[in-house]
Amino acid sequence: MKSVLLLLALAVAAAASETPKLPTFGHDIAPIIYQNCAPCHRRGQAAPFSLLTYQDVKKHARQIANVTKRRYMPPWPPEPGYGDFQDERRLTDEQIRMIGDWVRAGAPEGPANDAPPPPQFASDWQLGEPDLVLQAARPFLLPASGPDVFWNFIFHPDLKTTHYVRAIEIRPGADRLVHHANLLIDRTGSTRRLEATPGAGFPGMELTIDRNPLDPDSHFLFWKPGTVPYSEPDGFSWRLDPGNFLVLNAHLQPSGKVEQVRPTIGLYFTDKPPTRFPLLIQLEHDGALDIPAGVRDFMVSDDFRIPIDADVLAVYPHAHYLGKLLEAYATLPDGTRKWLIRIPDWDLNWQAVYRYREPVFLPKGSVISMRYHYDNSASNVRNPNNPPKRVHAGNRATDEMGHLWLQVLPRGRGDHRRPLQEAIMRHRLEKYPNDFSAHLNLGALLLSRLDAQGAVSMLEAAVRINPARPEGHDMLGSALEALGRSSDALEQFRLALRAQPDYVDARYNLALALAKFGKFGEAIENFRPVAAAYPGSARLQDEFGELLARDGKFVEAVAQFDKALALDPSDETAKKNREVARQQMAGR
């Protein structure tokens, strides 16, 4: 008996001296959990169950050990060493081992006074009260089960004047259902056509929004659970105009019961207009996405040479369920390779925008490369088709995508986006020689830098490719006008209106062209629907007044100038015009 006791004492002494004491919740585990898990694992956030107390954590201890060991949690898909990102959420090997040891030791709590206080989170808006809060017009009813849903909510800020946005905060409106969301700016309300009834929203994984090529997308407005909303640095605000809409593209996961999802977004304004002009550029080759059934490794690539010095600020890789290995890197003119991102086990559920800790400088002539690998075999668990089917690029979850979005800031003061945009569009034309939009956008860009001849040939190609689209004819008309070929221009505006009678831009251009030929009566009839379409535009009301005045219709003209001044009392042109019109009237 004595010897047994002695042995036991020796064993205890040995254990105490040789191995560090067993990890406890308070001393070792709570700091890891509170910092890395609790931001999402708490009430009102997207992650299931809270991890804010010892009891919470103990109830999921084995699960936590399992998911941290295989690095499913915390979710951080980029491979370390292939891009240095802000807000990296990744446990160290030591932390993971510690969690495993703790669970094996029976998940002890340890002395209560060892534990740090549970983290505190802002219960309301994380950036404070927003300047403008918008709620989706109607909730979306998410079915209890079935595949994930991609739903788009349209918000109408209904601003009276242009505002500059420095931050947005998205509140998904239903706990634990919204996996991530992208906010997109719709300058013309074109997405409203996609709603079955106004306010209903519309389905779809990918969005195509009509954009003016001279006003390109510049910011990622992305939301994922557990992150503090991103505030744009000084000078990086973005513009929101009257008549603009915001579209929230949300990835929703059924929870087991029918749920109502009604997101809210908060906008934070600044009075400082942007002084820095980044550009979102996209590498892709959807045209090459034609993956035969059963193929385990299908690669899609794209390579783009940048024509100017620029900094890459952020990256947003995107593929659907067949994506497996996503790589992006830049090859500098001196041949060195700079990694932009590498995601070895792509999972759509955890797609995200990644912002670089320091901007990644790419000198002029650097080539950005995208290498995406897809697995369309049955062994890809996430394959949405069973058995596997041939898959092309498309908007549905069963289709595939391969996009690499980069936020790029050209070096130098002011706005240097045009050469980059032009290069991107020319690159697109190389990939798709018969692409209508690339011709149209390139034509618009050439016209904007006063290369009217170049614009005309580009736009003539556009209308050859698709004569049914009004934009091509309309833009070609403007380019011809710039070359002084007014009758040819007139013809193109008429063709645009034949393609789409309610195409207001062409109606406006036609009215001005007719006025040039002195055909005021016809010009006025064409301008009338334009003025009616933009009742809030002081400039257009004023322009209509001028046209009426030139035709001697002073009474109606004065009424138009009054309208313009009611909208903008400080409009000096309208004031002067009204004065002149009144004098003319008195003089008659």
């Binding site: 169950f49 009891q55 109830k59 999921h60 201890a61 084995r62 059924p254 929870s255 668990v381």
Partner: protein
């Protein structure tokens, strides 16, 4: 101590009075705290569904469990919804059932008697017993989940449904044991 002996004795008596005979349902109760024994009641097939209120995979399976229960309810198959977490409140359990419309008769199993008998390891997990109380199948409901966070768009195998059908037909279950994906039951023992 006195109490436990009393319960044990009364259970033994109950077990003696009903067939099939076995023990091991100590501490199992309904939501009113009344002791119950799923194995003491007649059924052609008994199915135990192990769930947790704080497990998202459990919840996502609610519609599928409803479907399976509806399919077999009238064919002499009885379902029990087993809550092995002793710290769950009765109100929390009732709310959970009301919210997600889980099928089956709810029982609490704080001592994991049913868990052990079914060799269950996670929530959600199912166990199928024949009329004599023999464990015929235990494991996943279907193969939708491959791991936590890794799921197929739709299941390719409906293991629970197939197992019940086999036992009803008096046939052996092709794969009597599968591993389920979900939240560990040992964490709430």
């Amino acid at each position: 101590m006195v109490n436990r002996t009393t319960i044990f004795r009364s259970l033994t008596v109950a077990a003696l009075l009903t067939l099939p005979v076995f023990g091991g349902t100590l501490g199992v109760s309904d939501l009113d705290g009344k002791a119950v024994d799923p194995f003491a009641e007649a059924a052609r097939v008994r199915v135990l569904l192990f769930v947790r209120t704080d497990c998202p995979i459990t919840n996502r399976y609610a519609p599928e469990l409803q479907r399976v229960a509806q399919e077999f309810n009238r064919r002499g198959v009885r379902f029990w919804l087993v809550y092995p977490d002793g710290t769950e409140t009765v109100a929390g359990i009732r709310d959970h059932i009301a919210q997600y419309q889980f099928p089956g008769e709810p029982v609490r199993d704080p001592r994991h008697m049913l868990v052990k008998r079914a060799h269950a390891t996670v929530a959600p997990e199912a166990a199928v017993f024949d009329a004599a109380g023999n464990l015929m199948y235990h494991g996943r409901i279907d193969d939708r989940y491959v791991d936590i966070g890794k799921a197929r768009a739709a299941p390719q195998r409906h293991d629970l449904e197939d197992a019940i059908a086999a036992v009803l037909a008096g046939k052996p279950v092709a794969e009597a044991e599968t591993s389920a994906v979900g939240c560990a039951l040992a964490d709430v023992e």
